[in-house]
């Protein structure tokens, strides 16, 4: 999914969050960010449920706020997670 297609639809901080998550996931499986589909679940990209708890920990550091450890279970795609975090 091209990032330019999103600009008209999403708020800047939601876009930033998506960008961060895309880069993170891409880095973890060594692919190009462009190859990441934000509507596919984290598990598709090899981030299992226990690893995903670690992701919420990293997000806490990034956003400077406490998050539920099971956030990635209830918002299991980059798109859903970024949208939720942007609203909060």
């Amino acid at each position: 999914m091209q990032i330019m297609e999103l600009i008209s639809e999403v708020k800047p901080d939601e876009m930033m969050l998506q960008r961060w998550l895309i880069d993170r996931v891409a880095e973890s499986i060594k692919v190009k960010p462009d190859d990441i589909d934000t509507t596919l679940p984290f598990s598709y990209y090899g981030l299992d449920s226990v690893a995903a708890i670690g992701l919420s920990g990293d997000l806490e550091i990034l956003l400077g706020t406490k998050l539920s450890p099971t956030l990635t279970w209830d918002y299991p795609t980059i798109e859903l997670l970024a949208a939720y975090l942007a609203k909060e």
Binding site: S28, I29, A52, G54, G57, T70
Partner: protein, 573 residues
């Protein structure tokens, strides 16, 4: 009644371990092991002694308030027989899922059952998927008026013998972390719903009911523990608690292993001396004892932490579950060297109890989440818990007389939110001991202690920096490096626990951590785990060995705190 009094009371009820007419004697325990006999009588006795009351929270009519209390009681049983300990305590493992996730009526009903002596299993693992909780095939299909449970559980404790089984099953076709649920199966009311699977032959705990269950049961909605989809989370939380209690099991095995070999070493004469007078034996015994003290310190600290900082249990239980069984195995193997040929005999000295404890103890690093599983789960939090924000305070709850509130079941969390009180206190712990050394003169082990403290300080900084440089790719791919970094975290957190114990409790630890020779060997053992070699002179080992004897002679037992001696073992023959 305080923790140690409770433990002493139970130990006394178990009788003299060297009196072969006693059910809990070494002779009868080994005989049951040889025969692979399920220890029904011993279990019945424990229930008559009200041990099961300690598996039920006080709010539900039981006596469980604190985990250091339950740990002390399980250690007393483990010192006699790990088969009996795990076969009885499995009810805690199973019923915990209901204390954590059940509704009030489920909790009350199960509490009644456990208090009346019924036992509860946890049917979790399967032959194909092992312990991969998100890949289980047992299914619970919602039907009119209930659920159809179908599948097969394998390698569960008590699955044949226990009346109740908590079944972990998939309730949502795609699975995932919200796709599993827990169901309480009462075999007494569901006769046709299951078929027992054969007992599995194991290396240790040979008499235990390690078996399986085949399910084709219809259960009513009140069998569902909590809500649909809560199974994975509830199970992970339950495992934080059971992993903490595993420390008590290994410690029990090691208590008896050490007492047995020490007794042998003092009785057996070779080359005109007792084995215990030989410098090499003293060194080996001293090293094994010190590993017991380290494991004891960590287990005590983590058991107390559950009440004080329950939200950090995901980190501390993983540290304990990796470190304590690993140390216990190393110590038992070293004790076997001192024991010589007798370690290999199943029916010689002390009825052959040592070899049983050695084999039984091997289970602890394996079940309830193996050492590898625990290192792996810890690795996901490594970045958050090694941010360089060293605290200057010792965790107040490590002080043994500090009052702790009752454990709060709703305070567990799957992540510690970047908190790890032990590791955070390491810098302060190192500084405290350094200051004390600077102020104390004529301490012959200063050099060794300072060497170890400097190494710990550097190791801490190196770990923080190495974790920072980890890439998401390394984390994602399960790179062996992440297991190594997690392992180092465990060792350093343990060093922090021991240093905090020293700082806050050493007045009560005269012959153990309060003694400089012992502390020098403790830190040498810990830094050794990180590849560092602190030189200690012979007199250090001899001094530690003398502390071991003094400890044993004063209290009859060799741990950090005065757990009761096992009856006749106080008599010096």
């Amino acid at each position: 009644m305080d923790v140690l009094e409770l433990a002493a009371e139970l130990d006394e009820k178990l009788g003299d371990p060297r009196d072969p007419t006693q059910l809990f004697s070494f002779k009868q325990r080994v005989a049951e092991d040889e025969a692979e006999h399920y220890p029904s009588d011993a279990l019945g006795l424990l229930t008559r002694f009200d041990l099961a009351r300690h598996y039920v929270p006080n709010t539900l009519g039981g006596e469980l308030r604190r985990f250091d209390q339950l740990a002390a009681l399980l250690r007393v049983v483990a010192r006699r027989d790990l088969t009996v300990a795990i076969s009885h305590a499995v009810s805690f493992l199973g019923s915990m899922t209901v204390w954590l996730g059940g509704d009030e009526s489920q909790k009350r009903r199960l509490a009644q059952a456990v208090l009346s002596g019924e036992r509860v299993s946890l049917a979790l693992t399967e032959q194909q998927s092992g312990s991969d909780l998100l890949n289980m095939s047992t299914i619970a299909t919602a039907e009119d008026g209930g659920y159809d449970l179908n599948g097969q559980k394998w390698l569960g404790n008590g699955l044949n013998r226990n009346r109740y089984a908590v079944i972990y099953a998939r309730t949502s076709a795609p699975g995932g972390p919200r796709g599993y649920s827990l169901f309480l199966l009462d075999k007494a009311t569901n006769h046709d719903g299951f078929k027992p699977q054969p007992k599995i032959a194991t290396l240790g705990v040979r008499g235990a009911d390690i078996s399986g269950i085949e399910l084709h049961a219809f259960v009513t909605p009140d069998a569902l523990i909590g809500v649909e989809g809560a199974g994975f989370e509830t199970t992970l939380k339950a495992l934080q608690l059971s992993r903490t209690l595993c420390g008590a099991l290994s410690l029990g095995a090691l208590d008896t292993g050490l007492a047995t070999v020490l007794r042998f070493a003092q009785e057996r004469r070779v080359y005109g001396k007792s084995v215990a007078e030989l410098p090499q034996s003293q060194k080996l015994l001293a090293e094994s004892w010190v590993e017991l003290l380290i494991a004891d310190s960590l287990t005590g600290v983590v058991s107390r932490a559950l009440q004080a900082v329950p939200m950090q249990a995901s980190v501390h239980s993983a540290v304990l579950k990796y470190l304590v069984p690993t140390l216990a195995e190393q110590a038992m193997q070293r004790l076997a060297v001192v024991y010589g040929a007798r370690y290999y005999l199943r029916d010689d000295h002390e009825a052959g109890i040592f070899q049983k404890m050695l084999r039984d103890n091997l289970l602890i690093s394996l079940f309830d989440g193996s050492t590898q599983v625990n290192l792996h789960s810890l690795s996901h939090q490594l970045r958050a818990i090694t941010v360089n924000d060293a605290s200057t305070d010792m965790p107040w709850w490590i002080e043994r007389t500090a009052p702790l509130n009752d454990f709060e079941w709703d305070k567990l969390s799957l992540s510690s939110g970047g908190q790890g009180a032990l590791f955070s206190s390491l810098s302060a712990g190192i500084e405290n001991l350094r200051e004390w050394l600077a102020g104390s003169t004529g301490n012959e082990y200063s050099d060794a202690l300072i060497d170890a403290l400097n190494f710990l300080s550097t190791a801490r900084e190196t770990l923080i920096s190495d974790v920072k440089q980890l890439s998401p790719a390394q984390l994602g791919a399960g790179d062996p490096l992440i297991f190594e970094l997690a392992r180092r975290y465990c060792v350093l957190a343990t060093a922090a626990a021991v240093l905090a114990d020293w700082q806050l409790n050493r007045a009560a630890l005269e012959n153990t951590l309060g003694n400089p020779a012992v502390m020098a060997l403790v830190l040498q053992r810990l830094t050794n785990q990180l590849g560092h070699s602190v030189f200690l002179p012979l007199q250090c080992y001899q001094a530690v060995f003398n502390c071991l004897l003094a400890r044993r002679d004063v209290d009859g037992a060799c741990g950090l705190y005065a757990l009761p001696s096992m009856q006749s073992q106080t008599k010096n023959d």
